[in-house]
Symmetry: D2
Subunit: 347 residues, 4 copies
């Protein structure tokens, strides 16, 4: 059994980790920290876990995290980088669900997250935890920076197009029109995500710029081995879970004869968690609700030169906690799907 | 034109007052205060009011409220009682949407609201602004304590039963099972009313005790002229606006032959804002959405001895701002329905 | 492995059975019938099952249901009773999620379901599948009539009160104010359950009478061994899954000293799927979402003589498919919780 | 007073017309037809109209529509063209909310709506009722084909860009990523718009092709006086009302110095129902809920060469019934905003 600790278990990615790990056949939940809730049984905060998780939150200094095999950080940005060195030194693997180990350029990190990076050497070592792209590196990693929720869907949606030897689409003019449920904003008391504000409503936000843009650009450029240009427009959907990314790409004249459906199917052949749907499909977010699946549909409206790629994922699973467990499975040599075969909840 | 000021216009009852008053034919909006947002155009906070309200928020001391004819308080409990004396002295009428002037017994007020009452003399003078019950007193009042949202629905729902010379139902065993949309919790940043917490969910709350219980009991006893006993169980509905109260009353043996439908119709004959629906109706909250209407249906399941009264209202209109405008109309001798004839928005 | 067939798999209880059974360690899904969708892969209708269920719907006559060990009917009322005899004769056990085998009195069945009962002898044999009440009989049963969703919550909510040797509450004056998500209305094209009709809205329905009243009364009388009187008022909540029942009972003078919390805890001691929460709790429907749990909280507001029992369940799991699997487990001597240990999905 | 008839008043655009027209100061509602509901009071179907609309539905042949001044068709496609000739001959003006008089090319109409056009001569005369574009022609029109909901937002969103003498953006590569609430699908009993299917969910649909594409292309080409190329991807949002269109356009090199914010503000100067918001704004659909306003924000992310135009409208008002009333006001020489000054309902 792998001993697992969770730092910061009171947010949505934390409780989702608990849901997944509590039922994982190879995991022993060892500690979950929260300074504020020290001593409170986890199930008192999340009654859904009554009878499932018997742990109480403990203050970080009491949690003996160095005795774990792996520690997940489901914390605000900046926490993981403050604690990673000690854990790694103790031989503990680290999986960060926040942004501390995503952006390789510390200047870019500082610009978007408003704080200097405190351990650039560890950042350099850290592996970006997008399993379908970096599986081998993840297997050998000591520390993982997990992708953001939007970046997961954009990268896995564009990857088959960009991973080819030569450009098939105008890679300078990619447009990602993304829509997310409000759990993506976290379990924070804020006015704009109140039900009375956000339900029966729809809006874009962050059109001027969003933290997930540099992360996605970095990831897509790594996949392509070329510079790319991306416009990313996020929107808030009045639903709890789910991201739907509508990705646009202009097909280059020389690539007009490409069978893009076949390209996508081949690219993801054998992947357990990526489902390329049949031509003409319109994936729904609920078709992956509470599961680690990501579904993709490839469209070419009117047979023209614009590709429209539809991608859905559960932002808390494949876009966060589930992807973390997937990485853990890879890192510890388990079956990659261990503890992750939940059937999506529909309706 | 009546000069109207609003103290505290950044919450839901405040913005609803603005929606109603901006279109009221006899009103001139003169000032709206918010210390925190001093100088900010109201329409910057609420884009729905762009082109409708040109006022900016102003700090209270700049607002010259004493030049108004009437001032509404859409504030937290405790604010109105601190400012009422000065306004009344200047000849300004006061309508408080909070609880400062609802409970006649200051000990009860202090118990439920956790603060002493600072002006018992004004409290004594204040009229409880339930128009269909206290119309004459409202017409002569200088200061109004507006009913809470739940109490409005419970009192108007039970009133025809209790207003008779003799008891028709077991008045010691009334049960009100009430359900409210989340706007009733106000525009406050809190975790439990986030969309990700409150949508696709249903729960009771405050079963042990709720502030609206003593207020409703006081009101029902005033209507009946007798002691009554009420159990009140509020629930949170994943919707924005609306209250649905399901009221239970055990019919006394001697009242078994009463035609309760006729009793209700007669009681509310001529009322513009109370609609007694035909027998067998199930009023929906959306049938009064964004309007000052309250609808009632009278049921006697299986022809038995339990009355089931269904009541719906929009908690922000008839349960708050609309009722306030209705009182203002009465106080200033206007047509009672002036500015209040909005057709409910459906769907 | 138990060979399982499902008749009528295109509704919500059908797809929920598929979700649960596809991941059940002791089950082999053998056939799923739908005359209308004959030949269509199940996963084409429900993309959430892509990669999970490889079966196609088949017309009933092709499905070879008599080779199954057990057949679930997730069909409209009347279908199971037409096919049960042949299956039982072939040694196949039957679990009906519809109402055909719930009501023991065929006259009552005919009155509420508008059709005569075609096999009263089988009805007599059938066991009512409320596991926590009828476990021993279920273990020996060939055919199960599963409780309705509302009746499950009302019966398990009232059972500890009524199962005592003498009455503790006024059993003639029980009131159940119940609220259900719209999946309870089934996957049928109807105007009143459209999102544009039912969201941001709340209403009661069926106050005059509802099919689940006679079923619940029958069940409660069986538990009590005495006549009881129940008023049942259902309401429609703008959410997908979940039932919240608020149950009222007047405590008899001689029972005033009863420790009701202790009574409930003792009654459900050892039950895997019934959780009596600590005093003062307000269970939320989401705390059982997508799981077979039912949670109960016991309140006595103001220490008075009215008990308020709060009950939540997922109507599609503990109120339907999950309870069916629970019965199957009991019938086949499996661990009762096999395939049913899903952690509730929150948020 | 203008005598108004409505053909087909049982859908969402019909009931919205009733809401608007019942409170219109210059209108007398004369007849509302529904063959199926002949004799039923309108307020029995829509309790929101109790006390507001006293008319009953009548069968078309009894409705004496030829005595009206204007008749609105809130009907399925094909109804208006069957009745328009008779009404026009009687001197009655016609406003069609369906598609019969939108597409000028009858072959295109037949392709997308699956029926031949029965009165091409009237189609030729009909004016496309997009008030901000065709105001003068509307003033003289006898018959109006009202724009669809999506086309209204796309055309008013792109119009300032395309209405210039020379191209500013790549007009062959426009992309409109649009999101609509489910009331856009109409008040029809269908499975995919049930609350249990469509809430807590998000999906694209009709990516292969949608009826509103040829209509919008026709409109944009009329505005530009040039051919344009548009990709239109509609999505379904789990909300009742509202459309949010996210419009993309690649700025041509020679137009890089354009002040697009100023361009938009100038274009819509003086318009009562189009609000160009300040730079950096993210309009929300609720900011126009239940009102005839359309709000636009102009973005240029990162100062680059891609314009992102955000447009919100209420699909039932500016996208349907409100636009119809606006056209009626113009046709009859009334104040264009008569009966249309509803303040948006927020929250």
């Amino acid at each position: 059994m792998i001993k697992v600790g969770i730092v910061g278990g009171t947010g949505y990615t934390g409780v989702e980790l608990l849901r997944l790990l509590a039922a994982h056949p190879n995991v022993e939940l060892t500690a979950i920290t929260s300074r504020k809730e020290d001593g409170m049984p986890v199930a008192d905060m999340f009654p859904s876990l009554r009878g499932v998780v018997s742990l109480a939150f403990s203050a970080p200094e009491k949690a003996r995290l160095t005795e774990c095999d792996v520690v997940f950080f489901a914390t605000p940005h900046g926490v993981a980088m403050a604690q990673a060195r000690e854990l790694l030194a103790a031989g503990v693997k680290v999986i960060d669900l926040a942004a501390d180990f995503r952006l390789k350029d510390t200047a870019v990190f500082e610009k978007w997250y408003g704080m200097p990076h405190s351990c650039p050497d560890i950042l350099e070592e850290a592996v970006y935890g997008l399993a379908e792209v970096n599986r081998d590196a993840i297997a050998k990693a000591r520390i993982i920076g997990l992708p953001g929720c939007y970046p997961t869907s954009m990268q896995l949606g564009y990857a088959p197009l960009l991973a080819q030897g030569k450009a098939l689409v105008n890679e300078a003019m990619l447009i990602a029109d993304c829509k997310s449920g409000v759990s993506g904003a976290g379990r924070k008391a804020e006015v704009h995500t109140l039900l009375a504000e956000a339900s029966d409503n729809f809006k874009a936000y962050g059109v001027k710029g969003h933290r997930h843009l540099p992360e996605t650009t970095q990831g897509l450029e790594a996949i392509a081995g070329r510079r790319i240009g991306l416009t990313f427009v996020p929107h808030l959907v009045p639903m709890i879970r789910g991201i739907h990314s509508t990705l646009y790409a202009h097909i280059l004249p020389e690539a007009r004869d490409t069978d893009f459906q076949a390209l996508y199917e081949k690219h993801y052949e054998g992947e357990r968690f990526v489902d390329v749907m049949p031509p003409g499909s319109h994936p729904e977010t609920r078709s992956v609700r509470a599961s680690n699946k990501l579904r993709i549909a490839v469209h070419r409206p009117g047979g023209g030169d614009l590709l429209v790629i539809l991608v859905v994922e559960d932002n808390l699973v494949k876009g966060a906690a589930g992807q973390g467990v997937q990485c853990m499975n890879i890192m510890f040599g388990l079956e990659e799907s261990a503890g992750l075969m939940h059937v999506p909840v529909l309706p």
